[in-house]
Symmetry: D2
Subunit: 313 residues, 4 copies
């Protein structure tokens, strides 16, 4: 149950079987940092090229293909007082006829006010964000911070190395607003050690990351890992105090939804003893879908169910 304070020096723009940055044991905690999507750190210095550079990979002793890895996100917070967003809704999220009307893609800066101490102690807590130079029409806009990881996952199967611009069964750039502190994220393990990657922190983000950015900034992160031997996941899963959920990453969204629904049904079968008739009857009236990234080559859909309607597992 060691707590590792890890200062990253190398960053990767693929999820892959890179040389481990740190080896940790089942149950260990890591305190580390992530860069923003363009490779800038807490001091606003660019330390690596852009493209969602990832911290890690972290090799978890004992994690083998066929297992799952649990990553308990304990603390996520911006570690600087600015972030940036784009000003252009992506061409792929409007109807084709609207595309010529879209504005040029510019970058604007947000102030991140986070001086209140975090309720968890350490780092910056939940605070507020506002545009440094408010554009006409958004003068009074102040948004509550909701720090989340845009990228989280493990090395993919078969020796693959896949761009941090997309996602798959291994996780990746899912941009799901649900990856906040307090969540446990689960992933299938495809390679020995799982090889956890994380990065692309967003201080705030709307569903879909439809401008291609959240409020992009560098993060302080603390997480703890657990190896779940023989736990048969096909796709990412997660849970918080209220809900369990499963993730599909694919295009079109219909397929991502099919994957997420199927993985949630698998979970209800394996851990809650529900056959497909029982699970269908229940989910039909209670399932909720959340839209993750709809900007990247693969889109993300999350199928979620409240723990309050589930038996104890």
């Amino acid at each position: 149950m060691t707590i590792h304070t890890f200062v990253p020096t190398t960053y990767y723009t693929t999820f892959g079987s890179h040389a481990p940055a740190l080896r940790i044991a089942d149950g260990d905690t890591v305190v580390t940092t992530t860069l923003d999507a363009r490779g800038y750190d807490a001091r606003l210095e660019q330390v690596t090229p852009p493209g969602n550079p990832q911290t890690g990979p972290f090799y978890v002793e004992g994690a083998e293909p066929g297992d799952a890895i649990a990553i308990v996100l304990e603390h996520l917070a911006p570690n600087r007082d600015t972030g940036w967003t784009s000003t252009q809704v992506a061409p792929n999220v409007v109807v084709p006829e609207c595309v010529p009307l879209l504005p040029e893609r510019e970058i604007v800066t947000w102030h991140l006010e986070a001086r209140a101490p975090s309720p968890n102690g350490g780092g910056l807590g939940r605070g507020k964000a506002w545009l440094v130079e408010p554009m006409a029409g958004l003068e009074g806009l102040v948004l509550p911070l909701a720090p989340m990881l845009g990228c989280l996952g493990v090395a993919p199967s078969g020796g693959q190395a896949i761009s941090t611009a997309t996602s798959g069964p291994y996780g990746g750039n899912m941009d799901y607003r649900g990856y906040v502190a307090g969540v446990t994220a689960y992933f299938p393990v495809f390679v020995p050690g799982a090889l956890i990657h994380l990065g692309d922190g967003h201080a705030v983000q709307g569903d879909g990351e439809i401008v291609g950015t959240g409020i992009e900034t560098s993060f302080d992160v603390r997480f703890t890992v657990h190896v779940l031997k023989g736990k048969d996941l096909w796709w990412p899963r997660g849970e918080d105090a209220d809900c369990i959920w499963a993730v599909g990453n694919a295009r079109p969204l219909d397929q991502a939804l099919q994957i997420a629904t199927t993985e949630l049904l698998r979970w209800l079968g394996a851990d809650y003893g529900m056959d497909l008739k029982v699970a269908s009857t229940l989910l039909g009236q209670v399932i909720a879908y959340d839209v993750g990234n709809v900007y990247d080559p693969a889109y993300t859909m999350v199928a979620r169910v409240a723990k309050s309607v589930l038996p104890t597992r």
Copy 2:
């Protein structure tokens, strides 16, 4: 500002330019009933064939093509104490390999307990639902009622008559959980009088209507209409106390999302004075997507934004 109590005698299974069932004026209120999806009424008698039979159409005096119609949903509640659902997640919402594992499609009955008087007065209020014959694994399941209209809309353009099994710019079978009491639903007007249809009440429903049903039952309904002259809608919109939203109906979901996003951008432009750069910058960090029907030929996606981040319109 007449209040019409309307007892339907004819029902339609298409959204179309049928003979008006009732002519009402701008500002009038209608108190009426809807059948369940198989044509059963409050007494559990089948009064018309199945297939989402619609009450109406209601001809609104003064509504012309190029206008919009606002339908204020004031009261929606089951008017009997049972409803029914299917036990099979639809083949199109799971991965193809999972389809052979799905259970047979059966129908199960839910008890609707709604004895508390409605806060709005009249009819049945928010209550609870449970399975009449609980299947193993769902013995203690009790769900809060959240009555909503599965079908709502107007006659489509060009003399079309389109099955109540699908949806389009005119609304239709959208199965969006947001069509609850307290909401104002907006539709483009395609034909003189708009010709409002409504039906397919669900006492409870999960996102997507993934088993092909909510808890299907007959409803008491009260709504008030307003003609919005020259209001240029392309697709359905809605609002409640907290949010405004726009709807896209299409396949794949990607296209429904494009439509919904575009229509919300149009709204922010027309009524909130936001150009596409301002609206992009805002929505990128605050938009929320809700999944409506993913069972029918056309899927439904809703793009939503909180009023708290918008200027007053």
Copy 3:
């Protein structure tokens, strides 16, 4: 076996259960005309509003829901010497980033040279098309005529009336290059009399109708009908001397392909005695797909197999 010479006076822009324009018997032949997509006739006079106005519907005595109708296309030829096309590839067939680069949509006129008598006798035969005012870069372009019907089908089910801008199980605006003279087109029958509609002739067309038009012109048409009692079609089918094929109309194209493949498998099972293993083994190595319309709300995909690899039916 009557040959009806039918001069249309009313045209419809929906496929629906309109009053029959002509009642014909099983085996009868119809000689008639169609207008171009904007309602212009052989004399270049506009006789009805635009939007793919259809000739018909033709009521076929004895055709009942559950039967199929065969339409033998015996003669299709332009009946005037000009047609027109658009100059803009549709925004939905290029990547979103390309849409702002597209040209304005203009209409250009083609000369149709068809003076050679048709090999079938009567009307205009296969000839050539060229731009009346060649644009720079297309000066020498001469295309062989390949006259086809953009719209063909029957009245849809359930009292629906569906715009001639789209397609479905009943056929409609499929814009498949395969609907040429010599082909037998099959459709499921949804209403008594089948109610055949036809129109939207193209003197030439590329796959997909990606500019939203073929070379649009008015046609002389001759076809013969046969009622196939109890023939269980779910979607349109067709055949010519060399191939049999099945049609799917849906979005995305993936779904249209699923429908077409399934309908072709059904055909191989019903008429060629092939179970799904045999049909899979064969089609895997010989199936061909053709792309129909990718411009309209529903896209069209055709699954085709050569008769040379099939047993006699």
Copy 4:
């Protein structure tokens, strides 16, 4: 202009920046072999694990990111007298309701008769294929050989290594029937040397590779490479004596079609001097689409145009 006879000893199941197997010069020719999809060679011995193992990569001197590489496929022929196919149409190419009816996936063996000398000299020429143990219903089936490469491409960008089960801008497992001898295949170059991979030979294949296999076998291959300095390709292209074509790899097929159409428009602009209005006017009436793989995570669509309607480039 060296002719290299290359005997592969290492195979990769990703398209990636692997150590070059051979360095060749611009203009050089390679004579080599490929394994079948399960790693079996000409002697029917398994020499590497399954999963479309690739021969190569071949490092082409002088090829740099921003260039294109031309691969002239001069000879492709099975180098053994058997191949194998699956007997199950893939669940993703039929409608969901049909999936439970599909047969078990079995493997059947085909005899490849290719004793006639190739017209190009050397290796096996065009011949015939038939089932070694004909199933009832396919007793007399004899198919002409049409040898093609299922996999062809270069190393992807950004240090990625992507499974040979899918495809992208770099090519990959496209399963396009057009990759036959006589074709010149073009790819963008993403890494120094381009790093050409090839494999997954099919003696015969239907459109779409809908059973997940062509007639899978090992191949003799001869190809010649040319570096096209500064040739700005975004996606694969190809040409033969009659046509030029561009390839899109994505899901859904709609997106693959958008990519292919856009890349073909780019080609007509760059090499044929056609602006988008001219190219639109032409392609609208002459474009043809071919369906490549619809079995893998990414689908393949090809947009093709005959050279006979193009100016000389």
